[in-house]
Amino acid sequence: MPVKWLCYWQPSGGTTVSSQVLVDLIKSIESMNGVRSGRWQVTASQHRPIRRDQAVQVECARELLGVAFSEAPNKYYFVLRPDHMVVEADSTIQSIMENLQVYRNHLTVVFEGFQYQLGDFHVKAGRAVIAHSENLRGIVLEVEYLPVSSLGKTHQLMQEFVDIWQEVAAQSMTGRIVHLEPNFGDYSLSDQYSWQHTALQYISLMVHFLSQRTN
């Protein structure tokens, strides 16, 4: 599977992220001759355990994070951060978990936007919003390099692409593109990129956005 880098837009001090930022970033992609190739969506959820008796503690994970990708509709992924675990399952796992009624959905973040093709690169630009609200939590950028699956072998190339994109964006915007890189090794994920890596990236980004204060 091609390597993906997940980034977000960090506005410069004193400014907040807005939908205009996304519009400007899309213009920057198009100025690099990016060709729009469709829409994309990632749905990330935070679940909390259900206790029958609220007064009694339960020995279980306090937070269960899950993510689904429009590009991989038959799969679902879970991340347990304290246990450094990424779990891959069929999408029917969601129905199983609903039937078990042990964890309840607390919050969902939807990442969505447009994707573009630039030669051997696929680029996604979109926003992250709390589901069922227009509460914008961040601007997300994904860079995918199609020919190679090795994280190590693509690192320099991906960094160069992001640096070029940063220069183009800086012509009309203040702020910077920040690469979010989870420690894949901590989660026993190898150098060969996979959807489990992507799941960890988007969960990490959701956690980051939720930790940021909003106006």
Partner: protein, 217 residues
Amino acid sequence: MECVVQGIIETQHVEALQVLLQGLCGGRQEKLKIHEICLKSGTNLGVEASEVHLLCSLSQTDPVWTVRHVGGPMRGAGAEQLPAHVRSVLESSISSNALRFFYALGYKMDYELVRIGYVFQFQRVVPITVTATMLCKVPKLHAIDEAIPVTPGIQLVELTAPASTENYSEAVGAISSFAEHLAPLIHLSKPGVPTGVVPTASTAAASLVSRGAMKVS
């Protein structure tokens, strides 16, 4: 959803069952070896106590993990009249860290066992799966290579077929009808309804095996 009937057969008659199944449906027979772990939710976890099964198929080169949740049988006067159980079943393939995952969610192992035997799959109105397996208990935690039969000399036979709320009558009819073909060797009924072995199974088995041998030679 699925429909299911089950029964028991003496191990010495399983070869005859295989001959009969090959003759009836010509389906492919595959070996089956599954490590099954039953997990129950911990104290106070969830709306109510729940149970889930992890199945690790050991028949392939690389183990394949599945998580399975079985609901109770369909209830009501209509369901009581059916010759098979109809129950909700959900399955998902899952990565090999499934056990560690469910432990982290607060589940605890209730028991584990190993099922060893055969599976036939074929189409008769609906897809039908027949399994004949020896149930083996695991003497020490996860020591599947040391598993020993719970009832030596007896195997469990199950017929299952997928179903939906729209077609479960058809599915029940299909497996009930097929079960009748197996009557010389085995009585199949709803899970939980004791049937015992067929008294004349030895005679039927001998006939089947000799006919099977004649076909081969």
